[in-house]
């Protein structure tokens, strides 16, 4: 089938401002958008820049705006888009470095700010084996362990667009993953961080994050649970 791709371009060594280039390609409806980008870079324009690695939705490299919505380019097929004219743009809210590549550093800084690692100062089990955790306790935070830090959620959030100091949904998801882990003892510290001005209260439950998540994490729900934990002082 014939497709037209209108792609956002910014070549920092030549361009003073961004523009769009339209490419025409023959592709199968079952091709991934990433396949088409590869085809364009290989056959038509070697200067087109984008990140990618695993090509099946688990590494998080190729989050971008496709027809106005955040997707992983490797996890959306042409037929899923239902149209033959496709607009591809970099994620919103992060500085564009070149074409579809954005500066991810602010995103990772927010992630690091919520202490995204297990905090537990108790001695390890005397037999050297695993800490115990019931299947129900493990299930409690399963959803938020799925995050691949692709930034699709944070960069779809109107509150984040309005103020990039806001930690954003991805950071809250990763805080949630530890706050609700029965082995962890850092919930109080994390809730304190998320109760600050740039924490969870910036969330206006727009649900964009949940819709954008390629891992189908119930992000708005996770944020709601964190908000409730701050208000009630209890983890339920």
């Amino acid at each position: 089938m014939h497709y037209k791709l209108r792609i956002y371009r910014f070549q920092p060594e030549q361009d003073t401002k961004p523009h769009y280039t339209t490419f025409e390609v023959e592709a199968e409806p079952t091709d991934r958008v990433l396949d088409v980008l590869e085809q364009i870079r290989g056959e038509q324009d070697g200067t087109l820049a984008f990140r990618r690695s695993c090509a099946h939705g688990v590494c998080g490299s190729d989050a971008m705006r496709i027809n106005g919505r955040n997707y992983l380019a490797c996890k959306v097929l042409l037929r899923d888009l239902d149209v033959s004219e496709i607009t591809i743009e970099p994620l919103l809210g992060l500085r564009v470095v070149k074409d579809l590549i954005v500066d991810m550093e602010p995103f990772f800084d927010h992630y690091k700010s919520v202490l995204p690692y297990l905090i537990n100062d108790d001695p390890l089990p005397a037999d050297g084996k695993e800490r115990l955790q019931s299947p129900a306790d493990r299930e409690r935070f399963d959803d938020t362990t799925k995050c691949i830090l692709c930034a699709a959620c944070t960069t779809s959030c109107p509150s984040y667009w309005a103020n990039s100091e806001y930690v954003g949904p991805a950071a809250i998801v990763n805080a949630h993953r530890f706050i609700y882990d029965s082995r962890d003892q850092g919930a109080e510290q994390r809730l304190k961080i998320l109760n600050e001005q740039m924490g969870v209260w910036r969330c206006r439950t727009a649900f964009n994050c949940t819709e954008a998540c390629p891992r189908e994490i119930k992000i708005t729900q996770a944020i709601g649970e964190v908000k409730r934990a701050i208000q009630t002082g209890k983890l339920d």
Binding site: G46, S53, C59, V97, I101
Partner: protein
């Protein structure tokens, strides 16, 4: 302007092995990690089914059984001292991961959950044993996340999106590496007492692969250009269950949970090839069986097989097999239970095939998956440069880019993650210890010379050839002629073809002339690595006139222990390859016929 940095230990690659090495090296040495990707994008994250360790949480198991299964799985080419070391260390390593916070799935009594996996058996009964420790079907994702989290906690120093182009050796010792900062195009010299390569595999040499775009064999290529041999490159694993055409992996755990392979007649064909453990035979065995079935006209539409994990199918065969749960009750599953065990696989099938795996069988074909061969090391992670066990002081390798060899001719499922964790850790410890006892080597006169030369070649061709075309032809010939089954004729043709492609590659010119995120330049350099690895792989495969593990010769169908119970070593000198061999280390397990 070239910047120079100085560290005791530099680690190249930030997947499971690199991060594990970083956590341990940085305890005692000033350490930096260089990675061409953000660490969290590394391919370890794609591993699905689990990490093998004889915890015995659900039934009797022993690390010695794990060791025997690994030796047998390797078709007796694995070094048994290293295998015993790995399988013994695996147990503590899995507990270490849990202590780091890894969210393993759990048993009813709260312990780490374990499931059966291909080739892992109870050595007394010969039946599958629950040894694979898992976190749903995203165990690698959880390992990568957990190790990255620990690195954040420990303030590990990362140089993200730095591509290492060259290894510096002075006076026969490691002196550092040269890297390009992808965001600026600037060269950086990292002077280091010790360097650990943890750069992953090279499955992108083949047309159908489960591997990430970044799996282009950079570490092996860089070390080969500096005179270090590559070991056992003819052994590459084809995983039997890749999604048809796309190659995306469908974990063995699907069969561990009861999934069955069927041919176009709906026959469970593995019963004929591996009567004892059937669908849970070793990967090489199943991939060959699939090809033989297709050759016999039993492929669906001539091109693929079906992996059936619908509950009615699982339950039918579980009943026939007399399969039971740990408490002795018959093994019966519901669709809900299957979905909870393999949520990501379900997602892949729905996304890429429009198939719901509990309602329809999944079309599958073998997919290039794992490099058994790589940079030769011993069990301490030290790089070994000849057939005498000589190490290059200060140089280490771990994970898929390394060949210890613990996987020999065929890797067992779950052992890649074991390898990363065990040898990543020990390489880190060893490198830091080594660095504490030596001074820095001086840097060579023109440290960035070879790196610059390589870049200049890629930008000065006449442009009459396209990298993408050469890449496509390379992947095709590798898949057709250096794939699951091989012949002298096909391998010879592949060698000639790769040589022709390397000649044509000289005409390629990178079209992006910028410095900032020049992905065209980076990808073209990666292709030069793949061409070098392809040549070595095809030549080593042509030379090995026997069938063993992942290397199956139609013209030499038998394993030949008299002549070929040995590792290959390949030295690359421009376009010339010299082959040598070294013996296999045998401790407790005398080679015998491999039957599943």
């Amino acid at each position: 302007m070239t910047q120079t940095h100085t560290f005791d230990v530099v680690i190249v690659g930030a997947g499971g092995a690199g991060l594990m090495a970083a956590l341990y090296a940085s305890r005692n040495a000033k350490t930096a990690v260089l990675s061409k990707l953000y660490p969290i994008r590394s391919h370890t994250g794609a591993a699905q089914g689990g990490i093998g360790a004889a915890l015995g949480n659900l039934e009797e198991d022993h690390w010695e059984w794990h060791a025997f299964d690994t030796v047998k799985g390797s078709d007796y080419l694995g070094d048994q001292d290293a295998i015993e070391f790995m399988c013994r260390e695996a147990v503590q390593s899995v507990y270490d991961l849990e202590h780091f916070g890894l969210p393993f799935s759990r048993t009813a009594d709260g312990r780490i959950a374990q499931r059966p996996f291909g080739g892992h058996t109870n050595n007394v009964t010969g039946k599958p044993v629950r040894r694979s420790c898992y976190a749903a079907d995203r165990t690698g994702h959880m390992i990568l996340q957990t190790l990255f989290q620990q690195c954040i906690k420990n303030n590990t120093l990362f140089f993200d999106e730095y591509q290492v182009l060259d290894l510096l050796i002075e006076n026969g010792r490691t002196a550092g590496v040269v890297a390009v900062e992808i965001a600026t195009g600037e060269m950086h010299v990292f002077q280091a007492k010790a360097v650990i390569f943890a750069t992953g595999g090279h499955g992108r040499l083949w047309e159908i692969t489960s591997n990430a775009y970044s799996y282009t064999g950079d570490g092996v290529a860089v070390t080969m250009r500096r005179g270090i041999p590559a070991e056992d490159m003819e052994f590459f694993q084809f995983h039997p269950t890749g999604i048809y055409k796309l190659g995306i992996l469908i974990t063995e755990a699907v069969r561990g949970e009861g999934g069955i392979l069927l041919n176009k007649d709906g026959e469970r064909f593995m019963e004929r090839y591996a009567p004892h453990i059937k669908d849970l035979a070793s990967r090489d065995v199943i991939s060959r069986s699939i090809y033989l079935e297709m050759k016999a006209g039993k492929g669906v539409n001539d091109h693929y097989m079906l992996l059936d994990v619908r509950p009615e199918t699982v339950n039918k065969y579980a009943e026939l097999d007399g399969r039971t749960r740990p408490d002795g009750t018959p093994y019966r599953v519901t669709a809900q239970e299957i979905l909870s065990k393999i949520p990501d696989i379900t997602d892949f099938c729905v996304t890429y095939l429009g198939v719901d795996p509990v309602k329809e069988p999944i079309p599958i074909q073998p997919t290039a998956h794992y490099a058994m061969g790589g940079i030769p090391t011993n069990k301490l992670g030290e790089v070994v440069i000849d057939d005498q066990g000589t190490v290059l002081p200060g140089l280490y390798a771990a994970g898929e880019c390394a060949c210890v060899s613990v996987h020999g001719a065929n890797r067992l499922g779950t052992n890649s993650l074991v390898d990363l964790i065990v040898f990543g850790k020990h390489a880190g410890i060893q490198a830091a210890e080594y660095a504490a006892g030596v001074d820095f080597q001086s840097l060579p006169q023109d440290p960035t010379g070879l790196a610059r030369q390589q870049i200049e070649k890629l930008t000065s061709g006449d442009g009459s050839e396209k990298a993408v075309t050469i890449g496509r032809e390379l992947k095709k010939v590798m898949f057709d002629d250096v794939g699951v089954f091989r012949t002298a004729e096909g391998l010879h043709a592949a060698v000639e073809k790769v040589k022709e492609l390397s000649e044509r590659f000289k005409h390629v010119r990178v079209t992006d002339s910028g410095k900032i995120f020049n992905m065209d330049l980076l990808n073209t350099w990666e292709l030069s690595n793949m061409l070098d690895l392809a040549l070595v792989t095809a030549l080593a495969a042509e030379a090995r006139t026997e069938s063993r593990g992942g290397h199956a010769r139609e013209d030499f169908p038998q394993r030949d222990d008299v002549n070929w119970l040995k590792h290959s070593l390949a030295w690359l000198d421009g376009q010339e390859v010299r082959l040598g061999y070294k013996p296999v280390v045998i401790t407790n397990y005398a080679p015998k016929e491999r039957v599943y």
